[in-house]
């Protein structure tokens, strides 16, 4: 059979197994072995120095980190303390800017509500007035106490007290001071603080007309 013949042909090893080189290696001379030398001292020293360096660096790093931790801790403490101070001050400001405080302080300084705005008319001939007066305008505090209380507002507005003291100081008569007629310079008492005209409740309310 032709196929069988082909198979046979293919079955033939194309080349004989190569055993020649191995055999040759066996016969080859060994290369000269470099003479082993004892490790030099310098290597050991380098290794040791390197190790020490690493340890020292590690230690240094640790020291720096933990110092950083202390510093961080201290700074955090400082930051907390400052935040507390800020909060205290912010609280004070919030109370001082409360409408009650402002109103009481204004009353004590003798301030009254300002004039309402005037408006220009388009014709330009005159100004149109704002609203008329209030029927009742009493200070924030009268003898019945503060109308719109604030428990956080315990003490008297300091500004008012200070200004009053300064006014009293400024108004103290000195010899030769020009005084309005009818006042004598003998009275050495400080000028009284400006007082707000306090309408007694009920006086300003007009009586009703008709029903």
């Amino acid at each position: 059979m032709t196929t069988a013949a082909i198979v046979d042909i293919h079955a033939l090893p194309t080349r004989a197994p190569e055993q020649q080189p191995e055999r040759e290696r066996h016969l080859r001379a060994l290369p000269a072995i470099a003479a082993r030398r004892a490790p030099r001292l310098v290597h050991g020293v380098v290794a040791l120095i390197g190790l020490t360096g690493i340890v020292v660096a590690q230690l240094g790093l640790s020291v720096v980190i933990s110092e950083g931790a202390y510093r961080l801790s201290a700074l955090e403490g400082e930051s907390t303390a400052l935040a507390r101070t800020e909060q205290t001050l912010a609280e004070d400001i919030a109370v001082l800017s409360s409408p009650q405080y402002v109103a009481v302080a204004a009353d004590e300084l003798g301030m009254l509500a300002g004039q309402p705005s005037q408006f220009l008319t388009l014709s330009g001939a005159a100004t149109a007035g704002g609203p008329d007066a209030l029927w009742m305008q009493t200070p924030a505090i009268d003898r019945s106490g503060i109308y719109v209380p604030n428990a956080l507002l315990a003490e008297e507005p300091q500004a008012a007290a200070t200004v009053r003291a300064v006014q009293a100081e400024a108004a103290r008569p000195y010899p030769g001071m020009l005084l309005p007629a009818g006042e004598s310079a003998v009275a050495g008492a400080p000028a009284p603080a400006p007082t707000v005209v306090e309408p007694a409740p009920g006086t300003l309310l007009p009586t009703a007309v008709g029903e």
Binding site: I65, S66, G68, A69, Y70, L72, S73, A81, R84, T85, Q87, T88, E91, A94, V95, S97, S98, P99, Q100, A103, A113, P116, S117, F119, A128, G129, G130, P131, D132, A133, L134, W135, M136, T138, A140, S144, Y147, V148, P149, N150, A151, L152, L153, P201, G202, L205, P206, A208, V209, G210, E211
Partner: protein, 595 residues
């Protein structure tokens, strides 16, 4: 032979080293598994317990601010001063490193000087606690210490004293808007916005765990922080300045009228609330100082029978239905009688030749009944529903009353007439203001807005969904009604009412108050009120003011100066220019043509 022995010895040695290495490795592996897996939790817990510290980071509850950003409520750090009674002792220089001996008594005196207490009280508290439990380790001596006090106590360096952070709520403006803002209990919000907006305001506490060195410094790298989430900021639509002035006025007039209480509402024509003033008002810093009844907001929670100020809505409904025109002419005796029903005006008078406008301006009950003869009450109640009665406002205030409308078909004949002038029907002041707002806004009612927005710490802004506008009456009806109400201010007979140059529409009311048990009207109690809109040519504000049971002036005339002053304040505060259009000239009376 020698080589062979060396080789076998080498092998044994290698084997031995290998076995030993493996044994060592196995031991380590087993130990590792034991530590890392089997006993991991127990060991971790033990380790944490030895040097781990866990702290709560308090989130800050969000502030409540007004439209301009004025803080009405905020959270601040406060400290509780606690003490370990069993370890309270004298401090000695050699033990505690103090300069000289600090006895327990001296320490208490120093603490008391800081907290403002009586040292003997403190001592008594400690002794009482030791009496109760000699091993007691905890006693709260003082709470609410401010930062200054905290630092002072901390600097005393007493080992048996522990200061615990306990954030608290303060209200810098005191009782300004206290009725709206509400207040907190020990931990829970109890009233007002604090309660209704707690979802926005509430904060989430975080925590911080770290390992602690011997002196308490956190060990680097051990810090594990879960940050606290602060609460959001609730911005209200109110103006704290106007609110303060309105409260001041309301309180003054309440005192002058010797009324049980006073309420004023200022609302913009777009439905945003500018001020809700009440007298008495709770100071949220100290809610217990106020009577239980005064701790909420009557404007939202106290429905009453509004009386004559309700006539404006009946009139608007009739005009809108086309049943009545302001110039309609009729003869009005002071009483109206029909089978089973009887209606009288407040004051006896002759038969008057009033126009429909005149009926409203003179607040004639019998006239209103005559005008409404053809009006189907079901239609009327539809109008009332659209005016916003019968349902709570969009504010959703804590404890707000709705007062559902009754079925108009089920009303008895007398009530059918009474509802025209605000009897037999109840409403809260805020509902009334909201209904007047519809008239101010060209007949379209917008939802009442008290909460402007909630701003979360990450910057997200949410505004409450309130729904859209609702057309109640036509623009022409609203204008006609306001023009008639304008004549109330000029022609009702009170010189305290008008403000020259400004067109103001208002209606007064003197309402009877029902007994608490519903057994009829209390003759000694009246609710006097004025509700109004201004300026009529370009409505900007709705003002409602009412006083419960005034003693000095018991008719609506008593509330008129308060209304006048409230409008006056708004004109001043917002610089509202005078009206440029002439006042309405709708006739109030008519004369029969002479034959």
């Amino acid at each position: 032979m020698g080589v062979k022995r060396i080789r076998s010895r080498n092998r044994v040695r290698t084997m031995l080293v290998a076995v030993l290495t493996f044994a060592l490795l196995a031991t380590f592996v087993v130990r590792l598994a034991d530590i890392q897996l089997v006993r991991a939790e127990a060991l971790n817990a033990e380790a944490d317990g030895r040097r781990g510290v866990s702290e709560t980071i308090f989130g800050s509850r969000g502030p409540i601010v007004d439209a301009q950003g004025t803080v009405l409520a905020e959270s601040v750090d406060r400290w509780d001063l606690t003490i370990s009674p069993q370890y309270t002792r004298d401090l000695l220089p050699e033990v505690d490193g103090v300069e000289s001996t600090v006895t327990g008594g001296e320490a208490l005196e120093r603490i008391a000087a800081i907290t403002g207490q009586d040292p003997l009280d403190l001592q008594a508290m400690i002794l009482a606690e030791l009496e109760r439990d000699p091993d007691s380790d905890y006693l709260l001596l003082a709470s609410g210490l401010t930062a200054t006090q905290f630092e002072a106590v901390r600097d005393l360096d007493l080992p048996y004293v522990y200061l615990r952070l306990n954030p608290q709520r303060v209200y810098p403006a005191g009782s300004v808007a206290g009725n709206l803002v509400g207040f907190m209990g020990q931990s829970e919000p109890l009233a007002g916005i604090e309660r209704s907006e707690k979802a926005c305001l509430a904060a989430d506490d975080g925590s911080r765990t770290f390992d602690r060195s011997a002196d308490g410094t956190p060990i680097p790298g051990s810090m594990l922080t879960e940050p606290a989430v602060d609460g959001g900021t609730v911005r209200l639509t109110i103006d704290a300045d106007v609110q303060y002035q309105a409260q001041q006025l309301t309180a003054q007039y309440t005192a002058q009228l010797r009324a049980r209480s006073g309420t004023s509402i200022v609302m913009r024509a777009d439905g945003t609330v500018v001020a809700v003033a009440e007298s008495s008002t709770v100071d949220p810093n100290d809610p217990t100082a106020t009577d239980q009844r005064d701790r909420g907001s009557r404007a939202f929670t106290a429905a009453y029978e509004p009386g004559s100020i309700f006539k404006a809505f009946s009139f608007a409904a009739m005009v809108d239905l086309g049943l009545v025109s302001p110039r309609d002419e009729l003869s009005v005796p002071w009483t109206y009688t029909a089978p089973g029903v009887r209606v009288r005006d407040a004051v006896a008078h002759d038969v008057k030749q009033w126009t429909a406008a005149g009926v409203l301006v003179n607040s004639s009950n019998s006239g209103m009944v005559r005008l409404a003869e053809d009006m189907d009450r079901a239609d009327y109640y539809d109008y009332l529903d659209r005016f916003g009665f019968g349902e709570p406002t969009a504010v959703g205030f804590a404890g707000e009353q709705a007062v559902p409308l009754r079925d108009p078909a089920a009303l008895d004949p007398q009530t059918q007439l009474n509802v025209l002038f605000g009897q037999g029907i109840a409403a809260t002041p805020i509902q009334l203001a909201s209904a007047y707002q519809a008239l101010a806004n060209g007949g379209e009612r917008l939802p009442v807005r008290l909460i402007d927005s909630c701003t979360l710490p990450d910057g997200t802004v949410t505004t409450p969904e309130l729904g859209g506008a609702e057309r109640v009456v036509s623009e022409s009806t609203a204008r006609q009604t306001l023009e008639v109400l304008e004549r109330v201010v000029t022609d009702y007979g009170y010189e305290t009412f008008p403000i020259e140059g400004y067109r103001i529409a208002a209606k007064t009311g003197t309402a009877q108050m029902a007994y608490e048990d519903g057994s009829g009207y209390d003759p000694s109690r009246m609710m006097i009120s004025v509700a109004g809109v201004f300026p009529v040519d370009d409505p900007q504000f709705v003002v409602l003011t009412l006083f419960d049971s005034p003693q000095t002036i018991r008719t609506s005339g008593g509330a008129i100066p308060a209304f006048h002053d409230m409008v006056n304040l708004l004109i001043r505060h917002y610089d509202i220019p005078p009206s440029t259009t002439p006042a309405s000239e709708v006739p109030l009376e008519w004369t029969a043509d002479q034959p």
